[in-house]
Symmetry: C2
Subunit: 457 residues, 2 copies
């Protein structure tokens, strides 16, 4: 056992917790491209967006100049219920790997929603409440975002309407019941409740739904109802802003012990966790103060950064949302079945896409089996059962630590452990039974979906 | 919102963590009655017990004189992976209840096993490893104990063999997969692996198993195999000793802010959580230094303290274990189906039974529906999804807080939140659908099972 000069867990005191979010866009010389109105191909205006999103959130979405935005006291009070989250030194994993590397992970699974999603859910619910709204609508696939939003709405006595992809609604009854426990109404999508739902049901009577369809229903339910707005759990710049709490706490905890990371690693689906984790460190790089390596890890089955195109595309398969410039596989891309539901998005947040395009961040893709091997090794040594999504970051952190073992370097590796795998035991079961699917899309498949994208000059 | 002079969560620093367990028996003038050999009705000796349990654990089981027992460094290192657990001030619940009471809860769900069981599992695994054993065997019903033991054995590279009641094995595949993830071998019981299993399968070909049968198989597997011992997750005095870490941390955190509790509440099945939580406070009472109210909360469907008899009884339905003097409903008592699997034990730890008999502790029983009402209220206000077992304590803590609301008293209430309900969503679903079972055993039923107990003079 190595000598433990650093505590196993670094907790911040309540008074050391950040009281402002950090907006990395403010320090970017070349800003992420704006959202475009798909009809006019002009940047979306405040007025166009405020019918769908809360006013304050639209302001945050459009604000790429203010580096710090104050966290309202009500949100800070809620954060105190489960934050600061611990920054954990992976002593046991290091020992198991016999590596000279020092591994730290920021653990965001310490709340009932089981993931980092709650950081943005509570902010979005708060602004909806403050605006005097009755409720919010959203879609959920696997259910992590829906769970987080239900908790947040319950806290502010806000109505919460979740459209859950029908196949998940039926096959993941536990997630559904968690949302109901927090008072949300959960509707299997497509439903008879919306025009688009009825149309789809008529066209495809036996359909089990899709995320694209659930988004369309949630957006329709929000805009057609007095006092409701639509909310989204990733991809948007406002969500990355709220998630900067992860990075700010991580940095404060490292600073407290004079630790400088060499490499910072996170899994990336829509990009909200990774964007939040790296934000303040990336800020230092952008301001020319420091140098770090940043690694985005995506599944080989849905490789938007490593094999996608940087272009304007629809954010949803239903094509009702604005166009965003991002690394994308095309909104018609359907990833093969895998167990990291949170990483199956065809595109990547505009902020991360731009940073990647500027060469400030690396990206790698990893296969499912190697991810679960890392997950199991991690569980057995660190005691935490990781979510499949989070395990993508674990895989690459372990790979980096093993490189240090070969080279003898004592690098400091920090990675984001976004959540727990309690609701993912079907995936672990398949892994134990050797039934993992390691399918990787062919070049022809990607050519097809990327070729079907809208052409925006 | 009340002014928050106390932080939402009170964490201890690593150097404030207890380095000794507290053995409440040492301060009891009248000690708990000893375990008896069912054949001779004489107290079990070290030699008789060491074939089943590890030597060091037998010593702890028989030691009712040493008040403090050092926690070995290896166990303290493991504790640091998930301890100290937070003592949380339930500000949001207080506000929802509009009570002047101050409510604190000690949250033991902050680890993958999802409950306090890990505190003893790691200790038992450590002593097995230290004795040079190859592995341990145990039984599990709902799976919380089996999960905790699997994690602990994985940490010490110890073989772990879990006999899981067949009906749970089939209906709770997720718990099973968690154990497999940690490297345990999980066998549905009854199995063909043991003599007793084969006999039972022959006698009752279609049986779905029982805890009694699984215990018998686990004990046989341990004693018939070179280098194996049997371990148990509750009831025994050694387990209460390990669980004293809960109470010691709670007391240290309260002392840090000069808080004196008026009432301390815990759910009680076999008694390990409650016994651990109250231990150091009870010590003060026994030594005449302080006064507190202690409340044990049990399910109305399995009311060993409130409606049982204080007498010698078998610890298991298979009648292979020693006799223990305890409040018991008789080892043949079969509680009606309920969702608090951890509280369905027919008896109560000898230590708690004796303290209750001496009038030092109160006990109440509560129905399932009222427990889940409390659970949901708690989840919505505090954000943590509680296990059904833990929710028994929540129910009574809320009841006490509501009494304070009526009387205007500012009492300080502390309760133990033993774990999370992630694997209990079937129970929540039944609650949402109004399908709870609130059956309470009749006097005649209890007369029957209590009447069937062995007569020990």
């Amino acid at each position: 056992m190595k000598e433990r000069e650093i505590p196993y867990k670094i907790y911040l005191e309540e008074n050391e917790m950040p009281d402002k979010w950090y907006n990395v866009r403010a320090d970017m010389k070349k800003k992420p491209a704006p959202l475009l109105n798909p009809g006019t191909l002009q940047p979306m205006t405040f007025e166009e967006l405020q019918g769908v999103f809360c006013d304050e959130l639209v302001k945050q979405e459009l604000n790429d100049t203010s580096p710090f935005i104050e966290i309202p006291e009500e949100i800070r009070n809620f954060y105190k219920m489960y934050r600061p989250s611990p920054l954990i030194r992976a002593y046991c994993l290091e020992e198991k790997l016999n590596t000279p590397a020092k591994i730290y992970y920021k653990f965001e699974g310490n709340n009932t929603s089981g993931s980092h999603k709650l950081n943005s859910a509570i902010a979005q619910a708060y602004y909806a409440k403050k605006q005097g709204l009755k409720g919010v609508t959203t879609e959920t696939g696997a259910g992590q975002w829906g769970t987080a939003l239900s908790m947040a709405c319950s806290y502010f006595d806000l109505d919460c309407k979740v459209y859950m992809v029908k196949v998940s609604y039926e096959q993941k009854p536990f997630r559904r019941e968690v949302m109901r426990t927090y008072g949300a109404s959960v509707t299997p999508s497509p439903s008879e409740e919306t025009e688009v739902g009825r149309r789809i049901l008529k066209e495809f009577p036996g359909t089990t739904g899709s995320l694209g369809c659930a988004i369309s229903e949630a957006v329709e339910a929000a805009v057609s109802r007095e006092g409701y707005r639509y909310v989204l759990g990733s991809v948007l710049s406002q969500v990355l802003l709220h998630q900067s709490i992860i990075g700010l706490e991580t940095k404060a905890a490292l600073d407290k012990y004079d630790i400088t990371p060499d490499v910072i690693i996170g899994c990336a689906g829509g990009g909200s966790n990774l964007g939040g984790l790296i934000a303040p460190f990336m800020g230092e790089v952008l301001r020319g103060e420091k140098q770090y390596r940043f690694i985005a890890v995506e599944p080989a089955s849905c490789p938007s950064l490593t094999r996608g195109k940087y272009a304007y595309d629809f954010c949803d398969t239903g094509k009702v949302c604005p166009l965003a410039k991002m690394y994308t596989l095309g909104s018609s891309f359907m990833p093969s079945a895998n167990h990291a539901g949170g990483l199956r998005y065809h595109g990547m947040s505009s902020v991360l896409s731009e940073l990647y395009d500027q060469g400030l961040m690396e990206a790698v893709s990893v296969g499912q089996t190697e991810v679960f091997e890392a997950a199991e090794l991690f569980a057995r040594s660190e005691g935490i059962l990781p979510a499949p999504e989070s395990s993508h970051a674990i895989r690459v952190a372990i790979n980096e630590a093993l490189k240090c073992k070969e080279s003898g370097e004592e690098k400091t590796i920090v990675f984001g452990l976004t959540g727990t795998g309690y609701f993912d035991m079907v995936a672990y079961e398949k892994f134990h039974n050797g039934e993992m699917n390691d399918y990787i899309p062919t070049d022809d498949e990607l050519k097809l979906s990327i070729g079907a994208m809208p052409v925006v000059e």
